[in-house]
Symmetry: none
Subunit: 208 residues, 2 copies
DNA sequence: CACTAGGGGTAGGGTTGA
DNA sequence: TTCAACCCTACCCCTAGT
């Protein structure tokens, strides 16, 4: 009635995505009570999370929930398999697998010590980069680092004018480090911007 | 994509208006499944009904949605209070009241037996007459018969060259009588054209 | 009872094509 | 450019199942 419709902010959406990566889709209450996200998502209910997640997925596959319903009704195959975007049906089916993502074998160096976080806007961008790469790629147990790198590179690097992506292994567990709302998830060092995928103990260098 | 945009016909619009009078604005699915309207509105979705209703109202108040938004933005009062059209804000606020319209006290004779329905075109015209009169007049619990008569008379009778309006009380419940899409809602007798307002069990004689 | 999945519905902002 | 028709998103309700 009086509630004028709370649009989801980029920050909230990033937190939701990060929460799904960390806890898995369907663990809405868990995501909501996770200290890492609770302050950001304090205006949202578990049902809101569920609905938003539904919107995100269904939109990326079918364009809208309405289209998704029609497609189901007429038993149509998912569109949008082209243009570098993997159909998100893979995402929906792979929710648990992505959530259970195990640390990969080391092939980089060591995690650089942090300096300082930058603006939130960039935070969202990086969050979305990682989220998209690990959810939209086909690999059944999540994507390996090379795939993620290629994905980001092809889709984003040109426009963002980032340098080539290097991978890095995190030797210290930084999750929960209370430097930020996304504590310890990414940082800027002398040699570039580094992004940590929670639960993976992996760093990606996004910008040199 | 290939769908070239379905303009609303007069028939559909009349059915929508009648549906709002019967069930109330906001009851889009209810209107859509009502047998009285379902065949006419079969090409429309509940969302289509909502959108069309918005267009009808907003256009009559502000001239366009764009103007309405600007007015909201700058907190302007509704214009067009003149020229015999009540601001539709009253309508929006009074949806439920109009829908809950109770039968009025008797002051006419008895319902004449039906003869035959005439063309659809005239049906729309009459439908719109009634709709406009009961929605645009100010009375908080719907309009009494005299107001409706005066409204129709002032706005339409001259151009339609109808005679003076007489009211009539319906002694039989005719709603749902399957003589027409708008079953039993209006008829022509020897003494004129009679219009039944659904849920009101009232007849109006529109033409002698 | 608490929560989730998933169907369905509505309001309102935004988009588009004639 | 305008605006009627259409789309998308947020929020809501409900029920079944766990």
């Amino acid at each position: 009635m009086g509630v004028p419709k709370q649009k989801w902010t980029a920050e909230e959406e990033a937190a939701l995505k990060a929460g799904v990566v960390k806890h898995g889709a369907g663990k809405w209450r868990t995501i909501l009570t996770d200290r890492e996200f609770s302050s950001i998502l304090s205006m949202r209910s578990n049902v809101d999370l569920k609905d938003k997640w539904r919107n995100i997925n269904v939109t990326e596959i079918w364009g809208s929930r309405h289209n998704a319903k029609l497609a189901f009704k007429y038993n149509l195959p998912p569109p949008k398999i082209d243009n570098n975007h993997m159909a998100l049906s893979t995402l929906v089916q792979r929710d648990k697998e992505v959530a259970d993502f195990k640390p990969l074998a080391v092939s980089g160096g060591t995690c650089p010590n942090s300096m300082e976080n930058t603006s939130r806007l960039q935070d969202f961008q990086l969050d979305n980069l990682i989220f998209e790469s690990i959810t939209k790629l086909k690999e059944p147990r999540g994507s390996d680092r090379e795939s993620i790198a290629a994905y980001i590179e092809v889709l984003y690097l040109n426009s963002f004018t980032y340098g080539p992506i290097l991978f890095y292994t995190n030797t210290q567990k930084l999750i929960g480090k209370p430097t930020e709302a996304y504590g310890g998830k990414w940082k800027i060092n002398e040699d570039g911007v580094w992004f940590c995928i929670a639960e993976m103990e992996q760093y990606i260098r996004l910008r040199s």
